[in-house]
C-alpha cells in the first residue's frame, strides 16, 4: 500500500515542482552551502561527469571525469571546504542557469528529469569559463520531498580544453 502511494505520488510530479527543486539545488551550490546540498542526496547517490569523448557511456567500463558514490561525494565536499583544495581556493564564484527542464519518465518512486545548464565560473584575473551541457537527474520522491539518487552532468564541449578542470561541483 505504501509503495502504491509512493508510486502514485511520483507519477503526480509536476515540472514546476521539479524546477523548484533544481533551482534550490543550484542556489545551494552557487552559495557554496555544500553541507546543505549533501542533505539533498540519498544514501546511495551518485554524482557523474562522463568524458567528453563518450557522454552516453557507463563509468564501469569507461574513464569518467567524475564518478562518485555517496562516500566520495562526501569526501569531495570535505575537500572543497578545505583551504588546501588549491584548485578551489579562493573558491570560484559560480552562477548556474538551469533551463529546458523536462520530466523524462517515472519509475516506482523515482522520476528521471533532464535540464540544460550553463554554469559560469569566475576566478581571479579573468580566469574561469563557461560549462555548458545538460543534467540527467534521478530524483526519489520521499516524505521530505525530492532526494537526488543520481545526478549526471554531461558537458557539450568536444574536449575539456580551456575549461581545464572540473574542480567544483558541476
Amino acid at each position: 500500500m505504501a509503495l502504491a502511494e509512493t508510486k502514485s505520488a511520483a507519477l503526480a510530479v509536476t515540472r514546476a515542482e521539479v524546477e523548484d527543486f533544481l533551482y534550490h539545488e543550484a542556489a545551494l551550490l552557487d552559495d557554496w552551502r555544500l553541507d546543505d546540498w549533501l542533505e539533498l542526496l540519498t544514501e546511495d547517490a551518485h554524482y557523474l561527469v562522463p568524458p567528453n569523448e563518450a557522454p552516453e557511456s557507463s563509468f564501469e567500463d569507461t574513464l569518467f571525469i567524475i564518478a562518485d558514490d555517496i562516500h566520495r561525494i562526501r569526501s569531495r565536499v570535505k575537500r572543497l571546504k578545505s583551504p588546501d583544495a588549491h584548485a578551489e581556493f579562493p573558491p570560484s564564484r559560480t552562477r548556474r542557469l538551469i533551463t529546458n527542464v523536462r520530466i523524462l519518465r517515472t519509475d516506482g518512486d523515482e522520476v528521471t528529469v533532464a535540464a540544460n545548464f550553463s554554469v559560469h565560473r569566475f576566478r581571479r584575473e579573468g580566469r574561469g569559463g563557461e560549462y555548458v551541457g545538460h543534467y540527467v537527474f534521478r530524483l526519489r520522491v520521499t516524505d521530505d520531498g525530492f532526494r537526488i539518487a543520481e545526478r549526471r552532468a554531461v558537458l557539450d564541449s568536444i574536449e575539456l580544453g580551456a575549461l581545464g578542470a572540473v574542480s567544483f561541483i558541476l
Binding site: 584548485a87 584575473e125 575539456l160 580544453g161 581545464g164 578542470a165
Partner: protein, 434 residues
Amino acid sequence: MNTSPYIIDNPAENDFRLNRQTLVDPAILVQERERIFNTCWIYAGHESEVRKPGDFVTRRVAGRPVIMCRDTGGDVRLYLNTCRHRGAQVCRERKGNTKRFYCFYHGWSYDCDGRLVAVPGDDAYPDSFDREELGLTEAPRFENYRGFWFACFDPSVPDLETYLAGAKEYIDLVVDQSPSGAMEIVTGVQEYDVEANWKLLVENSFDDYHLHSTHSTWLEYMKDAGVNIKVPKGGGLLLPKRGIGRNLGNGHAVIDNANFRGRPVAAWISIYGDDAKPIVEAAKAELVERLGEERAERVANTNRNLFVFPNLMINDGSSVTVRTFWPAAVDRMEVTAWAIGPVEESPEMRKVRLDAFLTFYGPGGFATPDDVEALMQVQQGIAETVNEVPWSVMTRGIAKTGEQLNSDELHLRTFWRRWNELMTGTQAAAQAAE
C-alpha cells in the same frame, strides 16, 4: 661549470639553477619545437587504439595533425593529415573505421594504405601527374615498443629502442601486468589545457617533494577511507623516505617507490570495497604464477612515475595513466591523458582500475586539479618577475654521493640537462658527475 644561458650546473659547488626565461620566453619555445620536438621520438598512440584494418584515430603529434591508422596489411601507420593537392585535412573525425580518407574540398581520396585512389576530373592533369607519388605523407620514422608507438620527424636518428634506453625496463613493468603482454587504452580520453609552460608538467609529474603540501586533501581522503597513509616503520623501500629517483639515459628518468597505499594490480585497500578484495588478490596470484614471487612483487607493489623525454609520462600508481602534452604557447599546454589496462582484465577488475584512477588523477580527481593550479601559480608568479628573480633552485639531493630519493631532484635535473644539451648543442660537463 657549464656556460649555458639556461642552467647553472655545478655539482662540485652543489649548485644547480634554472633560468626562468626558459619558461616564459616565446623565442625559446620556437627553438624547442625545432631542436627538441623535431628531433626526438614523440609518443603518438597505442596499438590498441587501432585494432582492425581501417581503424584510425586523429590527433596532434609534435604539433602536426596526424592520422594513426591500421592499414590493410595489419601494420600501424602514421600519416600527416593533409591532402597532397591543396592541403586540407583529409580526416576530421576523432576516431573510426574507414576504407577511404576523403578530402571534401576537391574530392581527392586516399585508402588506408595511404595511396591516392580518386582524383575527380584527372583528365585535366598533364601526363607527368603521378598518383603513385601523391599518397599521404608518412612520419619519417614510426616505431613501437611493446605497443607504444612513437614518431620521429628527423629521419637520421637511432632507432626507438636505443632512444628509450633505461626507460624500456619501466615500460616492461607496466606491460607485464597483462598475462598476454597486451595492454589497451580505455575509452574516455581526458583532454585539457593548462595555462603553464609544458616543462612545468614534466617536473610536476614525477616530483614527490610536492605530495604533502599540494595533495594534503587527497592524503586526508585516503586516511578517512581507512587507508594507512603513514610510512610503515622498518625496512623496505618506502615513500617518501626510501623511494628513489633514477636517471635512465637520454633525458628519461623515473621515480620508483615501494607501494603502501593500494594498486588495482595488485594491492587491495579498503577504498576499493570488500567485493573487490578477491579480484585484486586473484590478479596478484596470477602475477606470482606467471612471473615468480620476486618479479610479481616488483610489478604489483611498486609505484613508478616514468618520464620519457620530452613529453610522455607513464604513471603506474593508484592506476596506470599515459599522459602526453604539447606546448600550444609558451604559457599554455594541451594535455592528453588516458587510462590503460590489460586487455584480458575482467569487467570487475576494470571497474576497480577506473575507480582508483579517479581518486587521484584527472580533471575531476582529488589531486590533478591542484597540480594544475600549482603550475598556473608558477607561471603567474614568474612571468612578470623574471628580471628581478631570474633563477629557480633545483639542488635537492645534489650533495649526495649514493642513491637519490624520489623527493630529491636528480630526476628533474636529468630532464633539464638533456633539454639544455639539445637546446645549446653542448653537453653539460656535470652530466656524468652526478
